[in-house]
Symmetry: D2
Subunit: 137 residues, 4 copies
């Protein structure tokens, strides 16, 4: 079982488009913040520290799939329920349910990796660090 | 067969994050611009005009699925190849292949609707307007 | 004397640029949220309500002047101290001091108007509504 | 006399707010892109190269002052006329006039520095590099 951590975001006027609803790329801004917030709340050290101890420099996105169920507008307070329902050998699934109270606004499943640096400066997927997984379960 | 329209975007410094790569929500900003650009290039009138003639106020997003293959950074010139490979009764699939020359950077399949206003102020999916479909094929 | 209202913003990874500091346009996103938050906290009704009662549809920006004193980065918690130090016949000055604890990060003085609609669909500056001014002092 | 370089930006739907006009922080996104574009067009090498040759890592913003004259909306094509009207010992003024054809939309004067790294990891203002100034005049 994964922990579930809630990240709260108030929708601002400037997050909305001429149709008066959240312009959808802003949901991905909040999801990225909720992803990082999840690890912080689980006690995972900052990436500049894990880079030294585990070689992990971050969790880049490989794949994302989102469904939009209801619109949201400014003044709305959204709760992003964040969890990691699945761990694979070199990737993990991070899930977000964006709620406004009892209303489901949007759902998103991401596949991310724990990235380390390659010698040529690029990045590569590391095996899931058991220390990090243990903190998130 | 769908037309394919190319939207060009230069990556700016501020589009990149501390890892020096495009912060992924920015891809969705560009995809939304490419979606609108596709209809403009196909000759579809602006939504404020289609609202009067067809009741269509825009093409809100229902579902999006993206894969990230390679990173991009500032100075890169990206080509977003945009098409509509599938028409369903009340939805359509809009596809984006984000290229940097021959490198595939990202792919995205969206499901969108043609939205009209409901009497209570909400929106609803309209049947695909044949006039618009004809312009895009 | 003006009320002073504090708006709190945590800097996210994606708010920072490849120099690892806040990309400056993001400060203006937060300032706009702090401007609206100030009026909400002072008890000013939402603009869709003041539109009916006072003809006020919002507070567009006429002029802004900002100084950047120190950089901020992700994880920083910023306090935006917001006030209205000056009321003129048809404009007002809204002031922001962006602090990280005792560190002054940025300061900004804006000139805004209370806007009403013109008959041709444009906007015009209204005389400062005394009801709104009274709530903010 | 300074060179004047024009950076062109089409306003997108998502750049606009519920009032159907450009949300003002987006002007600063475009201005930052125009700033960088100015140096590129003048032949100044990328910062990762000037870092090795001149110690210059970029041009952070110290002060900005903008006036908003007319609104803009999606579909508008904006021209950002960019120049450096003033060189001081350790700072320079970069000026932007945002035009839509003959309409002046916004004006902005910035003070920026050429930044180098301090030994403690911070940044400091370098004397204006004469090689760079010569390219921009």
């Amino acid at each position: 079982m994964s922990k579930e951590i809630i990240y709260t975001q108030t929708v601002q006027f400037g997050d909305c488009d001429p149709a008066r609803i959240v312009w959808f790329p802003n949901f991905f801004r909040w999801i990225d913040a909720a992803s990082r917030h999840f690890f912080v709340e689980c006690g995972v050290p900052p990436w500049h520290e894990t880079e030294r101890t585990l070689g992990v420099i971050g969790t880049p996105l490989v794949d994302t799939h989102a469904k939009f169920m209801k619109t949201a507008s400014y003044g709305d307070v959204l709760q992003l329920h964040t969890s990691i329902p699945e761990w694979r050998p070199k990737t993990f699934v991070q899930r977000y349910r964006v709620m406004r109270g009892d209303d489901a606004i949007m759902e998103c499943d991401e596949v991310r990796i724990f990235a380390g640096r390659k010698e040529d400066g690029g990045i590569r997927a590391l095996p899931i660090p058991p220390e990090i997984r243990a903190l998130c379960e």
